[in-house]
């Protein structure tokens, strides 16, 4: 049994791989979207909310996966970027009545721009300086969220954030908003899928595998890593713009430094460098504790311990484990 798309069959001829070419990942995404469209029927408000939260977190983790898994950079500010998007959306929609769609686009643009500004000086030096710059940025954003009461509401946060409507259809209902989230997640995932498969995306992977070799082959490493980081950050901005209307209330706590660490662990748990990894990671990080009704910080300890064990046994995370299991099964079949 061979997958329809093996690495040898991908020619480097066209610069624009049109979606006429379909592979297993895209089919999985499509099937997942269809299932999730219908899944919450009869699940109740809370169950639906958890599923939506899973998808929104997945978007942020997807972006971080691009930064960490494909470009090999440590960003410790993914939650802060998410906060930037969430606060921008919350403030503009509640105080100025700006349309959510505009806020969504602005959130992406703002986080992309901030990503460029932060990444430029750090990546000029050495990749791991980005970790420290984003660490500092994360703390700074958190301070602003907490201290600037006139803008962010301080520790009391911002409440009564409206949900957007879709061509006149109000999305107040949990199920309707969930479907809206499903569609946006699907679109963002496909865009990422397309980006990674494009020659442009393959330069990322080359970078991660061997930066110096990539540079000697003519890849402008600095530009590529910078763009990977900025796009990854923009995904966090998009996630934030969805998070605010989903929860309808935001305060600084979900955007703290610990949350950024937590998002990184989700990338690793799911499998960094696998397109579907973020969904698995966010499932383990967000949905599982809700379903098991685990207390917050105890689950964090267990999750972190599991990730450490995974890192020792299989640094490719759950996706890597599944791949291994699959290879073992098919390998047995071929051996006979």
């Amino acid at each position: 049994m061979t997958a329809p798309a093996t690495r040898e069959t991908l020619p480097q001829t066209r610069s624009l791989p049109l979606p006429g070419f379909i592979d297993g990942t895209l089919l999985t995404l499509l099937a997942g979207a269809v299932i999730l469209w219908f899944a919450p029927v009869g699940m109740g408000r809370y169950g639906t909310y958890v599923l939506s939260l899973w998808l929104v977190t997945s978007i942020a983790v997807m972006g971080l996966n691009l930064t960490l898994g494909y470009a090999g950079l440590k960003s410790l500010a993914q939650a802060a970027f998410m906060g930037l998007g969430a606060y921008l959306t919350a403030i503009l929609t509640t105080k100025y009545g700006v349309s959510w769609y505009v806020c969504f686009a602005l959130s992406g643009l703002l986080t992309f721009a901030v990503g460029l500004v932060l990444g430029f000086p750090a990546l000029r030096v050495k990749a791991h300086y980005l970790a420290f710059v984003t660490l500092a940025f994360s703390t700074l954003i958190w301070l602003i969220m907490r201290n600037e009461q006139w803008l962010t509401g301080g520790v009391f946060g911002i409440s009564n954030i409206n949900r957007p409507d879709f061509f006149g259809i109000k999305l107040f209902n949990a199920l309707e908003f969930h479907r809206f989230v499903v569609v946006i997640t699907f679109i963002l995932a496909v865009v990422l899928w397309w980006m990674i498969r494009s020659p442009w995306g393959r330069a990322f992977t080359a970078l991660r595998e061997n930066p110096i070799r990539a540079a000697s082959l003519g890849v402008d490493t600095r530009l590529y890593t910078l763009l990977a980081f900025a796009i990854g950050s923009a995904y966090a901005g998009f996630a934030g713009a969805l998070y605010a209307p989903l929860v309808e209330f935001i305060d600084p706590s979900p955007f703290s430094l610990s949350q950024s660490f937590f998002l990184l662990l989700m990338v690793v748990a799911g499998g960094s460098g696998y397109l579907l990894g973020p969904f698995i990671g966010a499932l383990l990080g967000v949905v599982l504790p809700e379903w098991l009704r685990f207390a917050g910080s105890l689950y964090l300890i267990i999750f972190a311990a599991i990730v450490m064990l995974l890192l020792i046994a299989c640094p490719q995370g759950m996706s890597g484990l599944m791949e291994r299991a699959y290879a073992k099964l098919t390998g047995k079949g071929a051996g006979r």
């Binding site: 050495k126 791991h128 970790a131 110096i212 610990s258 990184l264 662990l265 910080s297 105890l298 890192l311």
Partner: protein, 292 residues
């Protein structure tokens, strides 16, 4: 001026704490390419363990301190090296860095769940009095911190530069392959570095906890400032970490006094960005060469 002196002393005292954490951080970085994102939690936890030993075992303060400190060095010095760094380093530096983040979450949440979510008082070995020097009132605790921290740092400098064992450690950090050829037990030297890192964290923890109280979230700020100190001073030098720590401590203290108490954290962050832009190898650092 009188005020300024008081703030300066306070800044040097907290700076010495950051320097201790930053020195441990650079030592570990040099010998094993480990970026320890749990460094702040390393300074937070010993105080918690000491209090836990006193509370659970009902031991007197000195015995509790001894047990807590020994447990910390064993678990987070030797154990950290053997059970986290060793199995992880073969996968590369990135997974290891992420593992230390996971460790930081475990340490922080563990201290919160296993001990207390509230700040706890920590016994001080000097009275909390102030003395008058040229009209400025200076806390005895700050002076004690400065004295002990500097004594420890000079002891470490002497150990690294002046003893056989210390020079073997230095050789291991600079070039492990050649060190091994020269017959230096490289593995044991790396282990020693981790133990020293834990010991420095213990000193920092015992010094700072009487002032800032022992709380699970203390590590966040200390860790952040230790990283900044290491970068400002220069990643590859103990001396750099010392200078960086003092600068960050003084800047932090002055910012709290003269800028804004709610944005005191922001000023050292600006310092970090300026250093990265203007002198990325740090004030005392040398440029590192890239190797293929």
């Amino acid at each position: 001026m009188v005020e300024f002196i008081a703030y300066l002393i306070a800044g040097i005292a907290t700076g010495a704490i950051y320097a201790l954490a930053a020195i441990g951080f650079t030592l570990v970085w040099q010998t094993s390419q480990t970026i320890n994102f749990a460094q702040g939690e390393f300074v937070m936890l010993p105080a918690i363990l000491v209090l836990l030993a006193i509370k659970v075992l009902g031991a007197p303060v000195w015995l509790g301190a001894l047990i807590g400190i020994a447990a910390f060095i064993l678990i987070f010095g030797v154990g950290f090296k053997l059970f986290v760094v060793d199995p992880m380093i073969r996968h590369g530096v990135l997974p290891l860095a992420i593992a230390t983040m996971a460790l930081s979450i475990i340490m922080k949440e563990g201290a919160k769940d296993g001990f207390s979510a509230e700040a706890q008082t920590f016994p001080s070995f000097v009275p909390s009095q102030t003395i008058q020097v040229f009209g400025a009132s200076i806390s005895l605790q700050h002076l004690a911190i400065i004295a002990v921290a500097f004594a420890v740092i000079f002891l470490l400098q002497w150990f690294v530069g002046g003893t056989r064992l210390g020079r073997q450690m230095q050789a291991t950090a600079q070039n492990p392959t050649v060190a091994r050829i020269l017959g230096i037990p490289v593995e044991r030297m790396v282990l020693l570095t981790f133990a020293i890192n834990a010991a420095l964290a213990v000193v920092a923890s015992v010094l700072i906890s009487p002032i800032y109280l022992a709380k699970f979230s203390n590590g966040e700020v200390i860790g952040l400032f230790a990283f900044i100190a290491a970068i400002v001073g220069g990643f590859n030098q103990v001396r750099g970490a010392l200078v960086g720590g003092l600068i960050v401590g003084i800047v932090d203290s002055m910012a709290a006094a003269y800028v804004s108490s709610s944005y005191r954290l922001a000023v050292p962050l600006v310092l970090l960005v300026v250093i990265i832009l203007l002198k990325p190898e740090g004030l005392m650092g040398r440029k590192e060469e890239r190797r293929v």
